[in-house]
Symmetry: C2
């Protein structure tokens, strides 16, 4: 089907939807380092992980050998309600930029959670239901993950307890109400519903909370109640696995029309959308079947890849979770204010960290004012109002397209448009009023973060 | 292609998108009554309308003979950015209800304006650009129409001045910022930028504005500046014409799979989405080719069809627009608080009014608490968080499906899901907190509205 006219939007048929997730670890020569028990520095076993995570998800977390994992029928059916997501040819953006480059984006925002998060939420809820659990707990900051999980739990009739960082709970009441509409219990964190919450409240009565604290409360809530487990929306291997539905659909659509991307771009917070988008392409690269340029885009205010260290670190600020080897700024690093809440994470997926360490992908850090410039330009010609997170990828896609304009190269650029910005209008208002500023941590800020890294013995 | 398996979502190919709008007036035996000049009670001529509206749109407004109007290529290309919209089979809702009915909905919410309004906004902006105008003015209440028009004007590089009812401007800052991101100037109405605005402010210093006042300001702003025209998002014949893209896509998709709806349901404020959805089906009914049951759903708090009068009335509260013959509660009728802002209009499209008067369609009024019950039930099983307006149609679709459950009839039900509720979380919060109430105007309230109807001589 090569060379046929490319429509504005490519939608796959239902029969073309992926039936298996792709596990890129199976084809990695250097496997991502295992999670470590922070007390013993020994790899976490399935038995140690199962009190916290659902059984089948633990298996997926530890599985670095099987390249394909079947997607259960119930999940495929849920995917059919909002997938395939469109692969869009950005004809209008290309015209506006006057570039010879061909730009494509995979748009994950056309569902009520407003982002790709639903792809993993529904999988995690399914396995919890299958295990006969009563419910799940989680934390949420900006709220996309909490919304996605609430939707998934409503579908499977599971209880859903969301610990929402108090400042977001108060400043983002609309996100909170979406979760409540889907039947979730939303608790501002820190709260008096957990021991750790009460302790933090006693020590810091005026605190507005943090993601680390919310994680601690959610984990305690899961492990202290019969029939509950904790679930997480990014960073973990299992989450990247579920998100490969993005890349698999993209690849099928591109293959159908004989399109081969030269550059693949995604924003990176914990790494789930980027990992999901690039995995099938990276698999080809790892097997020597094809070559692609991969670019991870992160905020200059939270530059895990570009200025972080490749080291073992805690996944949470509360230091109660296992240690993961990753590019990190230190679990105590507090990113300065940035409106892309989903990218304000100190660490990065172990899988992506290893790939980056091995020189298989690049990374760029961009400042938020230039990100919102790209967002505005994109919105005005392509119609979609993008999330601040997604706009990081737009920024670099536009930069690459403008380079092509200079060189005359007709490169094919693919980027992931992870979500919509409808709940981020406070940020857009700042930008519209010319009140947005950029923040770049100093070397001293970073040193402070690195100082908190755990002292894991080398050569384990 | 009859009897093949029906997917969850039917997406047409780009090549199957409509190239012509359908003008149902051409097949109506009793044509909608013409707009009247309120000073002379004579039908408005094209010359009288052109100082206010774009030339080509005036022609569309007055054309009740041509059944098909070509969609210009530029508009088709814009449609390709967010259309076709999916026709969804509500498998999960059917299962939840345990009904033998087959339920389909045409979902218009997957674009940044969040509703079907963009279908007409882009057409109106195109004709303004083609006429060589500098810009357009309009009013907006809840903000969907203003958002859609801002997007359309950004695309064609037209100036866009939106008069936003002051109370909405202050209470819905996020909608306002979406419009500003698309480059529109948003002015809270009443304002000191127009004569009528200054007059109203002098008389009522503390007023929070009204749609009628905003219309008056927008019309004055258009007619007092060189190169501007006024545009409107509903009620008018031209708007219903553009919205037939909804019904045409739906019919093509259904025909492709051999589906024939028994009942077609839509919410009705000014009537644009309902008219757009049903027109192609109504055309068949008018020509004796097929029969369908049509149901318009309106809020019990603003019951134009079910309790209004079929009479000539002003389209605006300010009484500066032409008179239209329609089902109306009187232009002075103030609907009591209802969260479906898009349905709080005193009148109704002349086309739909005539069809209803001729017994070709039915109408039902529903109360808002039951509407939000339906919205919540729908959201939890179908994933999409619906707009309060759209949820009126969901309410009646569920009612009809439950009737089928009682009788065992396997009816096919089609409804229009016009938009998403992401900017309506204040309403959902009220519902979630059990603080929502219902409002039904008394007969005395209605009499007061009717008393303000203009005294148009009979037998014109």
């Amino acid at each position: 089907m090569a060379n046929k006219e490319i429509p504005y939007k490519i939608y796959l048929e239902e029969s073309e939807l992926p039936r298996q997730w792709y596990n890129v670890r199976a084809h990695m020569k250097n496997k991502p380092a295992p999670l470590l028990n922070p007390a013993t520095y020994k790899p976490m076993t399935a038995e140690e992980l199962e009190p916290v995570f659902c059984r089948e998800l633990v298996q997926q977390e530890l599985n670095d050998t099987d390249p394909w994992i079947d997607i259960p029928e119930e999940i495929v059916n849920f995917y059919k309600m909002y997938r395939p997501s469109p692969l869009v040819r950005a004809y209008c953006l290309e015209k506006k930029l006057g570039t010879p480059a061909k730009i494509y984006y995979k748009f994950e925002g056309n569902n009520t959670s407003g982002s790709h998060k639903l792809n993993s939420a529904i999988a995690q809820a399914y396995y919890a239901k299958k295990q006969g659990l009563k419910g799940v707990t989680t934390e949420t900051g900006a709220g996309q993950w909490g919304t996605a999980l609430s939707m998934a739990c409503a579908y499977f009739d599971l209880d859903c307890k969301v610990y929402m960082v108090k400042v977001s709970y108060e400043q983002k009441p609309f996100r909170r109400e979406v979760m409540r509409t889907y039947g979730a219990t939303v608790t501002p964190s820190p709260s008096d519903t957990t021991e750790v919450g009460r302790k933090i409240l006693a020590e810091h009565p005026g605190t507005t909370g943090s993601l680390g604290c919310a994680i601690s409360e959610a984990v305690e809530a899961a492990t202290s109640q019969e029939g509950y487990r904790y679930v997480l929306g990014s960073v973990l291997n299992q989450v990247l696995l579920h998100q490969t539905v993005i890349g698999l659909e993209t690849k099928t659509a591109m293959d159908k029309y004989g399109i081969k991307p030269d550059i693949i771009i995604g924003c990176a917070g914990g790494g789930s959308n980027l990992g999901g988008l690039i995995s099938p392409f990276m698999g080809e690269k790892l097997q020597g079947k094809a070559d692609y340029q991969f670019i991870a885009v992160e905020p200059a205010s939270c530059p895990s890849f570009t200025r972080g260290k490749f080291a073992y670190d805690f996944c949470d600020t509360g230091m109660i979770c296992p240690l993961a080897k990753m590019y990190t700024l230190g679990s105590g690093f507090i990113p300065s204010a940035n409106h892309a809440g989903g990218l304000r994470y100190h660490g990065m997926s172990s899988i992506l960290s290893q790939l980056y360490h091995d020189g298989l992908m690049e990374a760029r850090a961009v400042e938020q004012t230039s990100v919102f410039q790209a967002a505005e330009q994109f919105a005005r010609v392509e119609g979609i109002l993008p999330a601040p997170e997604s706009s990081h990828a737009i920024r670099v896609a536009i930069d690459e397209a403008l380079k092509c304009k200079e060189t005359g190269e007709e490169k094919t650029i693919l980027f992931g448009l992870t979500g919509t910005g409808y709940f981020d209008m406070v940020a857009y208002e700042k930008y519209n009023n010319g009140e947005m500023s950029d923040y770049i941590p100093t070397d001293k800020d970073l040193e402070a973060g690195f100082a908190g890294l755990p002292k894991v013995p080398e050569n384990l």
